[in-house]
């Protein structure tokens, strides 16, 4: 499974900079990021080339961060594909707790990262494959 690094960040000036500075110092390459805003704080979710190194670099300075498995699916960038994926998961009763997408090459490849309840994660990967999508494992995702 692909790893996503989730970092707790207070919602005030300079906090993201402190994190990016640290990651930059450790030569971590960020492939994708998204922020979930919760008012006084937010969660920064990162897909990076070296998730374990990034985790340790941040944990060492006392950051609250967590590595977790996410379902990363390569989706051809064409109309209807996201719907196809969500329909397949819905048909199996799999709940997507959180998701975000990014386009890797316009009109060619998009990536959909999904947080799925751990007990349903393996099943979700299987369903995605069954309908013809590629599920990206660790290395594949980071070396895109």
């Amino acid at each position: 499974m692909a790893k996503q690094l989730t970092i707790f960040v207070e919602n005030r000036a300079g906090r993201l900079k402190a994190i990016s500075e640290n990651l930059h110092k450790h030569r971590i390459d960020i492939r994708a990021f998204t922020i979930q805003d919760r008012g006084d704080y937010g969660l920064l979710r990162l897909i990076v080339d070296k998730p374990n190194d990034a985790y340790l670099a941040l944990a060492d300075v006392g950051c609250a961060c967590a590595l977790k498995d996410v379902l990363a699916v390569s989706v051809p960038d064409q109309p209807g594909n996201f719907h196809k994926l969500t329909s397949a998961l819905a048909a199996e009763g799999i709940n997507i707790r959180d998701a975000y997408g990014f386009v890797l090459q316009p009109h060619k490849t998009g990536i959909c990262c999904m947080e799925i309840e751990p007990p349903q994660l393996a099943k979700a990967a299987q369903v995605a494959r069954q309908v013809g999508f590629t599920v990206l494992e660790d290395e594949e995702l980071y070396t895109l």
Binding site: F8, V9, R15, D40, L43, G62, C63, A64
Partner: protein, 437 residues
């Protein structure tokens, strides 16, 4: 000369010597009851007071050690109870400095005495049986609501026992019943004033003429502001649950500080460091002995409130000395919208929650006229799982735990580990940004 109303003119205007004679008689009775409690039996015998007869004069009071809130906590639940539960007809309690509350028991006679002191207080402000009284203080274990309620009924005011909160309804009821007197915290009455416009109500739609204000410290400027904005007279009130509740001291029509009802309370002002009793006029800690309470006699209670006594009499003719408004506290107690909160209560609750790291901050400011409490905690990185739902559940849990302990709902902010200033001692963890005036 204004017409001065009295509830018990004889006792309220008694000669000093007469008041002291009553105090001595009642102190002796109180010693008799106190000797029945686990809390006082040993303390009193240790200073040579084994029976009421050992108290020869009021000066003997100074031989008795002070009682603190901690003593009452240690006595929880009944170490300070002087009668059997059959004789107890009411219980009130207030928050302790930590999880253990301070409990006060009232026998029938105690409630009767308390009610009478409040009747006296209400009449001293000029309120009469033709007034409509909307009691906006919280009912329940807190003494503010029920205390004034029974006092007002005894005088014969029409009592609207609406209790605290629900501003829309308070305003509607003030208009519908043409309320003339309210009992309220100053900040809440200011809040009500700020909401009148929203409700489409003007002062001319209301009949308010008096407010009894208490439960939170306020300046003379705040009183003036309240009086000007609402076009009323506002009377300061003082009391604490350990000494019954409201009705320890109250302002009369002169509005020049509060008469301590000295036939019921012996008041001393002490140097909080040395315990030395200070002369009238000097600021110090208020120490009170209730000499008319049987079920829970309390001797020389250290209130932690700072104030002074006026040396001279009052234009109203009452001989009972006047206590200044409360000028501060000797401990770190916070008063949030009239509710007493100790930082230690907050610490005790949040430190039990594993997902919270050891550093925290208690932040108080104003939102409009009301106080706002925000508890800022750092999250504990080892238990961070990267899930919003867990963080929101954590916030919710902190709110619920604190609500159960301090009775008010704080705001909770989650912070990054190591981001809050590190201090030693709980007092410095409190940031109080409320304007002083």
């Amino acid at each position: 000369m204004m017409d001065i109303p009295f509830w018990s003119r004889e006792i309220e205007t008694a000669e000093r010597s007469r008041i002291e004679q009553i105090q001595l008689e009642r102190l002796r009775d109180t010693i008799g009851w106190a000797l029945k409690t686990n809390l006082y039996r040993r303390r009193l015998t240790q200073v040579g007071i084994g029976s009421p007869d050992d108290v020869k004069s009021l000066a003997d009071l100074r031989r008795i050690p002070f009682t603190t809130k901690d003593d009452l906590r240690v006595s929880f639940p009944k170490g300070h109870l002087a009668v059997g539960m059959t004789d107890v007809i009411r219980v009130h309690s207030s928050s302790g400095t930590t999880g253990i509350p301070t409990v006060i028991y009232y026998a029938r006679q105690d409630l009767d005495n308390w009610t009478d002191l409040l009747a006296r207080s209400i009449v001293a402000t000029g309120a009469t049986s033709s007034d409509i009284f909307q009691n906006m203080m919280t009912y329940g274990l807190f003494t503010g609501g029920l205390g004034l309620h029974y006092g007002a009924e005894r005088v014969g005011l029409t009592v609207i026992p609406i209790g605290g909160g629900n501003t829309k309804r308070q305003i509607q009821v003030m208009k519908d019943f043409q309320t003339t007197v309210v009992h309220v915290t100053p900040s809440y009455l200011l809040h009500i004033h700020s909401k009148l416009g929203e409700e489409g109500i003007e002062l001319k739609d209301l009949a308010l003429r008096k407010a009894f204000i208490g439960a939170e410290p306020h300046s003379e400027n705040t009183r003036r502001k309240l009086q000007d904005l609402m076009r009323i007279d506002a009377y300061n009130s003082y009391g604490l649950s350990e000494l019954n509740g409201p009705g320890v001291a109250f302002e009369c029509v002169c509005k020049k500080d509060m008469h301590v009802w000295e036939d019921a309370f012996i008041v001393e002002i002490i140097d909080p460091q040395t315990g030395e009793v200070l002369p009238d006029g000097q600021e110090g800690e208020v120490v009170l002995t209730n000499v008319v309470r049987r079920a829970t006699p309390i001797l020389r209670y250290r209130t932690r409130d700072l104030a002074f006594l006026h040396p001279q009499g009052c234009d109203c003719g009452r001989t009972h000395r006047r206590l200044s408004r409360i000028l501060g506290r000797t401990d770190d107690m916070l008063i949030i919208n009239g509710v007493n909160v100790f930082p230690s209560q907050i610490e005790e609750k949040i430190m039990k929650i594993p997902e919270v790291a050891t550093n925290y901050q208690i932040h108080v400011d104003k939102k409009g006229a009301l106080d706002r409490l925000t508890v800022k905690v750092e999250i504990y990185p080892k238990l961070f799982l990267g899930e919003v739902s867990k963080l929101e559940a954590l916030k919710h849990r902190i709110v619920e735990e604190l609500k159960a302990s301090i009775t008010i709902s704080p705001g909770v902010e989650l912070h990054e580990p190591g981001s809050l200033p590190v201090y030693e001692g709980k007092a410095k963890r409190v940031v109080d940004e409320r304007p002083k005036d």
